[in-house]
Symmetry: C2
Amino acid sequence: MMEIILAKELGFCFGVRRAIGLAEEALRLKKLVASLGPIIHNPLEVSRLETMGLRVIDNINELKDGESILIRSHGAPFDVIQELKNKGIDIIDATCPLVARAQRMVEFLSSEGYKVIIVGEQGHPEVRGLVSYGKGDTFVVSSLEEVPELSKEKIGIVGQTTFSLERFKEIVSEIVSRSWEIRIFNTLCDASRKRQRAVEELVDKADVIIVIGGKNSANTRRLVDIAKSKGSIVYHIESWDEVLPEWFVGKDKIGITAGASTPDWVIDKVLEKIKELCYQ
Amino acid sequence: MMEIILAKELGFCFGVRRAIGLAEEALRLKKLVASLGPIIHNPLEVSRLETMGLRVIDNINELKDGESILIRSHGAPFDVIQELKNKGIDIIDATCPLVARAQRMVEFLSSEGYKVIIVGEQGHPEVRGLVSYGKGDTFVVSSLEEVPELSKEKIGIVGQTTFSLERFKEIVSEIVSRSWEIRIFNTLCDASRKRQRAVEELVDKADVIIVIGGKNSANTRRLVDIAKSKGSIVYHIESWDEVLPEWFVGKDKIGITAGASTPDWVIDKVLEKIKELCYQ
C-alpha cells in the first residue's frame, strides 16, 4: 500500500500564511483592498488573490478612494505608515510579527543611543522598512567586507528575519571584535532552517521525494540539494501538471515537501494528482 | 653604524606595569605589603620585589597585623574584597582598569536580569574574580563545546581580558545564534595583538630579531614564531647572559622585542649587553 508522507515543516511560513489570511478575510468582507507591492513573490498566488479583487500598487499615491491598504509581511517604512495614518486610510497590517519585533528593536536601540547596524540585504523591502525605524546613525551590512571601522560607540545589531544564520554569525562576530559594547537582537526566523531539517528526516522515511516550488526559488532548490546529497531520488516540480505516474512504480513511501513561497493549494493539487495517478 | 630598533610595543602591558608601580610606591613609603598571589608570573620580577620587602601570600588569613594588601592586576573575588574592607585592612588595588571594567560589566548585566556568560578560562584568577561579581546565573565558557543550550532568556557576555580574540568571536557567534537577546561587553585587551603586529613591522626594518621572554611564555613564543614565519633570523633569550657577539657580525639593524611578562629592567640589561659587545 503506497503512503504519502509530508515533511514536518513545508510551504508557507507563519508570516506569509497570516498575511494571505488577512488579505482573504478583507476581500471576503467586500473591502476594496490594494497591496503595497506583491503580497508574495509567487505570481500564481498573486493572480489568485487578484481574481478575488486584490489590487497591487507600487506607491500609496495610486490608492483609490475608499480602498484599504494591505501592508505585506515584509512590513513598510515608518514614514509610509505615518502618511497613511495621517490621511486616515484603513490599514490592514499584515507585517510578520517577527518583522514587527525587529522594527521595534531598531527603534528601541536607536532611541537608546546605539548606532544601529542592520545585518541584511541592501534594498530588500524588509530591510528598507527596518532602516526607517532608526535615527540617522543606522546602516545596513550584508557581508564581512561591509563591516565598517568602529570606535568606542555603542553598537546595536538587528538582523533581517530571512538572512542566513551562518552569515549573520560571521558578521556579528566581526562587529563584536571591533567594538566595546554591543547589543544584539537575534531577529532571524528559523522557518527555512526548519524546512531543511525536515527534508533531512523525510529522506530517511521515503523512497522518493517530491519538492514543490519555483525552479528559481533559492530556498526550494536548497531542499532539492539536501535530499539529493542524502542519496534520495528527487523530483522538483512547480505545478501538479508535471507529476508523472512512472515515478511511483515500485515505490511504497512518497515524501512531499515544498518551498517557503509555495501556497497550500498548490501542494494540495499535487497530492490530489498523485492519488489520482496511483489509486485510479 | 649598527642601530638598535625597539618594537613599537613590547614588554609589560599597561595593567602589569601599573600594578608593579603601585607595589614599588607602597614599598618605598615603607609600608608592609603582602600581595595576594604572585603579582606577575615572572619569578625574576617577583624576587626583585621580595628583596624590596613584598611578601606573597595565598590567603588573606596569612596577613600580618599592620600589613597592607596588594590586589594584583588580575583582580580578586568580590567577597574577598568585602572581607578585607570589613576587617579595615588597607587595600592597594592594582586591579587592571580593564579587568575592573569587566567586573563592573558582570555586576551590571547580572543586576539587569541577564544570564551572564564569561568567556574565559575556567579557574583563571581573573575569571574567578569576574564570576564573583555576578549573581547565581553566571557561568564560564572557554570553548564552543561548552556553549549551553539557551532558550529565550536575555544573555550578557563579558570576556576575560587576555582571552584569544578569535576564540571569543567564535564562542560569541555561537551564543548569538542560540539566543534572542544578547548584550556583549567586549572587554578583551589588545596588548598581545599590538605586540604581535609590532614584531611584524620590526621584521621589515631589522636584519636580526632578538625576542626577550620566558622560554615557556606562550605570548613570547608567539612573537618568535611570527618573526620566523616572516623569514627573519630570530634569537629567543630569557636573560642578557645569553647574548652572543657573533649574532651581530655584518648586521646593521638589530630589532628587539619582549613578551608581556618581561620586565623593563631585563630589556634594559639586554640592550646594555648588546652595546657592550658591539661598541667595545
